[in-house]
């Protein structure tokens, strides 16, 4: 029991070190972030979206899925005919657009975070195996990854969704089935470079087993790259989800998703512009903030990544 704990501690120790380092540098990090107004703005907005998503039931003024048909197509409050009851207006079903956008943030963020996390997990694990052990396994996985890379991302996802049918789980599946490849390539390349460095050699000489070397020596050193890539990928994943929902292949009505809200409002663009435009703005702002934040993160954490 104690031996196990020690072994675990041994594995976790380098992570701990790094986090301690980060903690110590936390102030530094914030100062650097402060030096990049765009990244800071991104961070604040992302945080705001996360808060909105977390407290959706508390802050949304109406039920996002239930509308009153008699109150359909009310314009936003600043337009003529707007009502303070519905700040951003209502859609054709008489549902409050503000509440739908608030709840839509949940779907977008959840899909973004989950699909990126799962992709990163799978991609890094396979990349580590490939990059460290090389050989036939590497060839097999790499060729498979190349095969997947040959498909354009969205076309692949559309095909998968058409095959699997709509729904949240299928959406995640379709996004991660191809999403892991970029993480795989990053992790594989990084580990191939790291495995010949002195500290890995040293660990090997001390008698560390290969899995321990991968997990506790190499991974902490490439973790920041994966974190940065993950942040940057999140934007694309959110756009992919919105695109699929726009095409009617993602989240099904009446669950509010920004992409399907844009699709709903498309036909009403000439007469009721707010139905499509406001969720579109939400997608724009969220993805923009994530990308601004991600790029700031990259500049701070890993200047080497600048050339992708």
């Amino acid at each position: 029991m104690e031996a196990q704990t020690t072994a675990l501690n041994q594995i976790l120790y380098p992570f701990k070190l790094r986090f301690q380092l980060w903690g110590r540098n936390g102030l530094n990090f914030l100062r650097e972030l402060w030096g990049q107004p765009s990244a800071l703005l991104g961070a604040v907005l992302v945080a705001l979206f996360v808060l909105v998503a977390l407290f959706a039931p508390q802050i949304s003024p109406h039920d996002p899925t239930r509308g009153k048909l008699r109150k359909q197509l009310i314009p936003p409050v600043w337009e003529e005919g707007g009502s303070p009851e519905f700040l951003l207006g209502t859609d054709v079903q008489g549902r409050d657009l503000l509440s739908r956008i608030i709840y839509g943030a949940r779907i977008s963020l959840l899909v973004g975070i989950l699909s990126v996390s799962i992709s990163a997990l799978i991609g890094t694990a396979l990349g580590a195996l490939s990059g460290y052990y090389r050989g036939t396994l590497d060839t097999l996985i790499s060729r498979f990854a190349d095969l997947l890379l040959a498909f354009p991302f969205l076309i692949f996802a559309i095909g998968m969704m058409a095959f699997l049918g709509p729904g949240f789980t299928n959406l995640l599946l379709a996004l991660t089935l191809k999403g892991w490849v970029v993480f795989f390539r990053l992790a594989r390349g990084a580990i191939m470079a790291e495995r010949t460095t002195e500290y890995v050699e040293a660990a090997r000489v001390v008698g560390q087993s290969n899995p321990v070397i991968i997990v506790s020596e190499i991974l902490p050193n490439i973790f920041h790259s994966i974190l940065v890539l993950g942040t940057l990928r999140m934007g694309s994943m959110i756009i992919a989800e919105a695109s699929l929902s726009f095409l009617g292949l993602g989240i099904q009505p009446p669950t509010p998703a920004w992409g399907s809200m844009v699709a709903d409002g498309r036909d009403y663009l000439v007469t009721s512009w707010w139905i499509a435009t406001l969720p579109g703005m939400a997608i724009l702002i969220l993805v923009l903030s994530i990308n601004l934040f991600g790029e700031g993160l990259r500049d701070i954490l890993d200047p080497r990544l600048k050339i992708e």
Binding site: T65, R66, G67, L69, R70, Q72, L73, P75, E79, E80, G81, V92, Q93, G94, R95, P166, L232, G235, S236, I239, G248, Q252, P253, P254, T255, R266, D267, Y268, L269, V270, T271, S272, W273, T277, G280, M281, I283, L284, V287, L288, N291, E308
Partner: protein, 577 residues
């Protein structure tokens, strides 16, 4: 970087959209005034549908132009793709709308539903099961070939024989079911044919409207595939070029015999060219009409009517359609295998409100399975009407109550949840129905199916739960409609080909079968009244409404009106300068 470019593109797109929208005027009280005008216009148009003479007068007074102007190209914005150019190989309205400008049939129908002779000079019922048609002489196809009895026989043989169609692979014509009692066609002489039926078929003339004649010699020469690529008929326009998903271009057939004698003016059409353009998106169609890029558009969405009504260059035309809408419920699967639950659904859905809001009030609520304009609709039926308390009461009786207080009804620990299937065109009304059921604590969600050919077999096999859809009765007769929706499904026949609720009642089957062959109108009324009564009481569907057809044209489009069966007949239409 890729992400950045995409981002920049998105930003620019949204900014431009925002700018355009900022320039759009907000709806003003003027629009509301105009909405009243719409209602006035609508009443006028309803008169149009009932009495054609009145319509002509209205058009003439509206524009002081004397006679039809020759020439010009007219563009029509269609709301859906065309399935094929083979007049024997489709079963939906858009294709028929296009093809019947190139192909004529033995008989045709006016926009208000009367049947007139077209290629036939006379039609006689020789005995109960034999129709004799004498063809007009001197009718030629677009390739110069003369129309004879051979062509008529060839056309019908292709439709009624098994695997009569060779392209893209051998299959039986989907139009066979429209004339299922037809057994054989006999050539009496060059210009006389007899149609032999297996049983009396009182709606023969109404159903024959949907069968268009193709030239035998040309067809045999080029084959089925060649014919689909370069179709030849004897209609007012001949095929020039086009693709099924973009546009079909036709030009005037100068040797046109003139069509139905009773539909003057008779002769070649005034227009040089007609282009059927496929514009599935409503806002695109409306924009194209307002810029004058197209002359006529199908399916004007309700919320755009005020916008078009204020446009001095646009005329709105509407009239009752032939497509009653319901939410069909699978009667063989829980929760809808319980009559009380189905009845409760009829009380739970407020069809009036959906009609008034989502459909802009254009249409009427229907009490049962048939359109009230159907010649055999039972006038004694009354809509169940919205009554939420009654609905909840009946659901409680059936065991559905909110016992765990989560806001949703449940029974034996299971939540009342189901999925409403719908095609993209009907999404708004399906969501409205689902929304109203949500209000009562029923967790109804909507699934939009882009591909009907995937959904339809699933529904026919009883694998789905509910479907918000519609079914056309362009013959204004239960035949073609009633047996498709409410007869038990019989493989290999037309019976039950659209029975998505899986409804089956031996008495209804019997009544439908009797109604199809009963020549006496009074007796047919009795048969169909009883059948409607039974279906009304068994509620295999939530009976919703009969929406109006709303179309629009540019003001210079003359002699065109909306047809109840959705047909766009361009023969007499002309463009004033």
């Amino acid at each position: 970087m890729f992400g950045n470019r995409k981002l920049a593109g998105l930003t620019i797109f949204l900014l431009i959209t925002a700018m355009i929208l900022a320039g759009c005027p907000a709806p003003t009280p003027v629009v509301i005034e105009v909405e009243k005008e719409v209602i006035v216009e609508k009443t006028v148009i309803e008169t149009v549908v009932v009495e054609k003479e009145v319509a002509v007068e209205v058009v003439v007074t509206a524009t002081p132009v004397v006679g039809p102007q020759k020439g010009g190209t007219l563009v029509i914005g269609l709301s859906a793709d065309i399935a094929t150019l083979d007049p024997a190989d489709y079963r939906e309205t858009t294709t028929e709308t296009v093809l019947r400008n190139m192909f004529d049939g033995l008989v045709t129908r006016t926009s208000d539903g009367r049947v007139l002779l077209e290629l036939a000079e006379s039609a006689t019922l020789v005995d109960e099961t034999t129709w004799e048609f004498v063809l007009k002489k001197g009718v030629t196809f677009h390739n110069g070939e003369a129309l004879t009895a051979e062509d008529v026989k060839f056309t019908f043989d292709r439709i009624i024989s098994d695997n009569g169609i060779d392209y893209p692979e051998p299959h039986t014509s989907p139009r066979k079911g429209l004339i299922s009692p037809l057994e054989s066609v006999e050539i009496v002489d060059d210009y006389t044919v007899r149609l032999h039926l297996s049983a009396p078929f009182p709606v023969a003339m109404q159903m024959l409207v949907h069968q268009q004649i193709v030239p035998k010699d040309y067809f045999e020469e080029v084959g089925n595939e060649g014919f689909v690529k370069a179709p030849v008929g004897c209609g007012p326009f001949k095929f020039v070029e086009g693709s099924l998903s973009e546009q079909i271009v036709m030009e005037r057939f100068d040797d046109y015999y003139g069509g139905a004698d009773e539909l003057p003016p008779v002769g070649p059409p005034p227009l040089d060219r007609v282009i059927f353009k496929i514009l599935p998106e409503a806002s695109t169609r409306v924009a194209a009409l307002r810029t004058g890029e197209v002359n006529i558009i199908q399916k004007v969405p309700a919320h755009m009517i005020p916008l078009l009504a204020t446009d001095p260059n646009v005329r709105l035309v509407s009239g009752p359609s032939t497509r009653p809408a319901w939410m069909e419920m699978n009667v063989n699967k829980p929760p809808f295998d319980d009559l009380r639950v189905r009845l409760a659904m009829n009380y739970a859905v407020d069809a009036d409100t959906i009609l008034e809001t989502v459909l802009g009030g254009l249409g009427i609520v229907i009490p049962g399975s048939l359109s009230p304009y159907n010649n055999f609709a039972d006038p004694t039926l009354e809509p169940y009407g919205y009554d939420a308390d009654k609905a909840l009461e009946m659901l409680a009786e059936a065991g559905w109550t909110d016992s765990d207080g989560d806001g949703f009804l449940d029974k034996e620990g299971e939540k009342f949840a189901f999925v409403v299937d719908v095609r993209p065109a009907n999404k708004d009304r399906a969501e409205a129905v689902a929304g109203q059921l949500q209000e009562l604590g029923i967790d109804a969600s909507v699934r939009v199916w882009g591909d009907y050919s995937v959904l339809k077999p699933l529904m026919l096999d009883g694998e789905r739960t509910a479907y918000v859809g519609d079914w056309g009765d362009s013959a204004f007769d239960p035949v073609g409609h009633f047996e498709a929706k409410w007869h038990s499904r019989v493989e290999g026949t037309g019976n039950g080909r659209g029975n998505f609720s899986g409804y089956s009642n031996p008495r209804v089957d019997e009544l439908i079968e009797a109604g199809e062959v009963e020549p006496d109108v009074e007796k047919r009324h009795e048969l169909y009244d009883e059948a409607q009564q039974i279906v009304y009481e068994a509620v295999p569907a939530v009976f919703l409404f009969l929406p109006d057809i709303v179309e629009a044209c540019t003001v210079n489009t003359q002699k065109w009106t909306v047809a109840a069966d959705g047909r766009l007949n361009m023969h007499d239409v002309w463009l004033s300068p």
